[in-house]
Amino acid sequence: MKIKKLIKRIREDWVLYLMLLPGITYFIVFHIVPILGMKLAFQDYRIIGDNEWVGLKHFKVLMDSSAFYDVLKNTIIISTMKIIFIFPIPIILSLLISEVRSGRFRKYVQAVSYLPHFLSWVVIAGVWISFLHPADGGFNVIRNFFQLPSIDFMTSKEHIRWVLVFSEMWRSAGWDSILYIAAIMKISPSLYEAAKIDGASSFQQMRYITLPALLSTVITIFILNLGFFMNAGFDQVFNMSNDSVNSVIDILDTYVYRIGILNGQYAYATAASLFKGVVGIVLILGTHYLSKKYTGKGVW
């Protein structure tokens, strides 16, 4: 019955479904089909001849490594910090941008905040290393102006995770706010007009109209972001790491890159990726279930 309905829908809106096709194709080719390759985690790969099934050997090696738990701990800490401190920023930014009355200024702020998203982490790392330079970096110059001593942030174990958080925030806040700005634009202006007539202040309009309207978008994005929880930012860490701080920012992805990719141990790398994927799925399903239970809203 459902299939018949679907076919009927496709016939009625076939142009829309046609437009959907490239996206579906992309996901099938690059996200669904590779799942089949995950069997490599349970095999020793042979370029010629049949692969050898080795069961959980690679997972055992992964779990037996003392370094694995260190990088897992770093991954969880950095990801948690990023979720707590970065996730609300695009929401706040979108609320602030939507309050800007001058259209030209709003466009300017949006353009400036989107720009860092297009820079590679190589460039961003260079910018931040210069900005935080203990002798003549902008941030330490400001600190010195207020009689505060310079800090070598890039080689400080206490500060480097914060550098990751703030540089990620700088790079992604503007771009990530696009979805929220779009959601705000969808809110009917009549709601704001009615609120104004009732004497609501700007803050009250934001509190009682904008934020509730954003809630489902926020929850959806939050749950989907949790799926990437174990991706603490390979490119960022790779470019910002050095011998002094590597022990506190070495994450699962950089570890897998060194052991799995650079040493050609792809089965080992696949096992680690599968582990990450399973954690991501558990987090998505768990949060979706809890969100449904307590707020009535979820991803689907």
Binding site: I47, S66, D152
Partner: protein, 490 residues
């Protein structure tokens, strides 16, 4: 319109299915296709994968065309080269992905991660080929021979790639401590030289490295008694990274750091920023790879700071031993391999041997006549383009058969001296290829060393923390690795 769109959809779906099914089949099938003879004009085709030498590189395409012409002319061999484009990014990583996808060219240039491929039996043992070779066996260096005995799959006849310290010659000549340093380059004399050179050049510091103190180790390791990876101590073989010699060396680096002689920002330096501070006079000394790299530094320095700023090569520090570090002879860390699946293995080696011949060397070392060099009165005169663009892709033996004009030497004075200096102090290491089961443990042990050495040098941890590090190093896998070393080293 509807029909057109439907046709488009059908084509797209078929394409997707085809792409998916190819991905499953290609890896195993491709291996049987490699190296097959090309049909047209009877020429044999050799598939080559080499860093930066894909079909999109016009210089590489011309190079292999000229190589084909040379092989035809000198050996009457009809060979064509099919260059493989490797995806952009880290070469070793992308090459491995290519090989693991089942596409195995006849001739492969590796820059690491070759052992896993060799372990699968995909690389040819080069020993019998070299024994029967006409030219290659005569141009091999002692370390090539030793490496080939331990690991017969890779060949890389190039000068040793150690790091030698260099300084501007005009500053060097002004320093009163220079002569003492050259005569007796003890650690103390090095320190005295560093102190003086900072004043002469009005630099911010004396020496910097690109994020990794190992660059400086080449100069100082042996002076502190680190003459091999596994040091022969009373307890048996002990890894140098947990030895008292390393502790002493770190103490010396720490002093350099405290006194502002070692760049306080060395940890965040990259290769480009390291060179930048050298050229703009913020630092006086940097270590560079001997040979061509020193030439590049020298040319850049002269262009930016005038003729008098050409470089002076400094000697390795002298102490218990002297040298630029022991040479790893366990295997080549990079080099060329022949696929065991190739149908043209003999032909591929013939090409490699030809490149070691006087004719092959002329092409490989000098480039294209009329473009990179000219022959005037029987002597080779190199052009500006040679110095700017050309590098030898294959072999670089110490001696060449052709005469190069004195006005345009293959290498500048500083680069030539750096090569000679490294060769003078050559000694063999006793390191070995790490067994696979130690790879993950070694990563943890290396990270411990890097962290503690960086923290001790920069004063974040006291020197006494070295003892804690040693305990952690042994616990992280050092104990079993040391046992393995003692069981296997003689």
């Amino acid at each position: 319109m509807k029909k057109v769109l439907l046709t488009f959809v059908m084509i797209l779906m078929v394409g997707v299915l085809a792409a998916c099914s190819d991905g499953e089949k290609n890896p195993k099938e491709a291996t049987t296709k490699e190296g097959e003879a090309a049909g047209d004009s009877g020429a044999q085709t050799i598939k080559v994968v080499f860093k930066d030498d894909g079909p999109s590189n016009p210089v590489a395409v011309s190079y292999y065309e000229k190589l084909s012409e040379g092989l035809k002319k000198d050996l009457d061999l009809d060979v064509k080269f099919d260059l493989v484009e490797v995806a952009q990014g880290d070469y070793a990583e992308k090459l491995n992905l290519l090989l693991y996808s089942g596409e195995i060219p006849d001739l492969i240039y590796f820059q690491g991660a070759d052992k896993q491929i060799a372990d699968q039996g995909l690389l040819e043992d080069l020993t019998p080929y070299i024994e029967d070779s006409k030219y290659i066996k005569s141009i091999m260096n002692p370390y090539n021979e030793a490496r080939l005995r331990n690991y017969p799959y890779l060949l890389w006849i190039k000068p040793l790639d150690n790091r030698v310290p260099v300084v501007r010659k005009d500053w060097f000549d002004q320093a009163s401590s220079s002569a003492t340093l050259m005569e007796n380059p003890t650690v103390d004399n090095y320190k005295a030289f560093f102190k003086e050179i900072v004043q002469i050049g009005d630099t911010k510091n004396a020496v910097t490295v690109a994020g990794d103190i190992r660059e400086l180790d080449y100069t100082f390791d042996m002076a502190f008694g680190i003459n091999k990876t596994w040091l022969d101590s009373e307890k048996g073989f002990e890894h140098y990274k947990v030895s008292s010699q390393t502790k002493d060396k770190l103490e010396f680096y720490r002093q350099l750091y405290e006194e502002g002689l070692l760049d306080p920002q060395y940890l965040t330096k990259k290769h480009d920023t390291k060179q930048e501070v050298f050229y703009n006079g913020e630092t006086a000394v940097i270590p560079g790879t001997n040979g061509k790299v020193i030439d590049i530094y020298n040319d850049r320095m002269r262009v930016l700071n005038g003729e008098e700023s050409q470089l002076q090569v400094l000697p390795p520090a002298k102490g218990e031993y002297q040298g630029f570090g022991a040479t790893d002879i366990s295997k080549e860390s990079r080099g060329l391999a022949i696929s065991s699946q190739s149908k043209n293995k003999d032909l591929v080696f013939q090409v490699l041997d030809y490149l070691a011949s006087p004719e092959g060397q002329k092409l490989d070392r000098l480039g294209f006549e009329g473009e990179h060099y000219n022959v005037v009165d029987g002597k080779v005169e190199l052009t500006e383009k040679y110095y700017g663009d050309w590098y030898a892709r294959y072999w670089e033996p110490n001696n060449v058969e052709f005469e190069v004009a004195e006005s345009t030497p293959l290498l500048g004075d500083a680069a030539e001296k750096s090569l000679l200096s490294v060769a003078d102090y050559y000694s063999e290491d006793n390191s070995f290829v790490l067994p696979e089961e130690y790879v993950a443990q070694w990563d943890a042990m290396e990270n411990l060393y890097k962290e503690y050495s960086a923290d001790i040098i920069t004063g974040k941890k006291p020197l006494e923390a070295f003892d804690d590090y040693v305990k952690k190093w042994y616990a992280a896998g050092g104990e079993s690795l040391t046992k393995y070393a003692n069981d296997n080293l003689k």
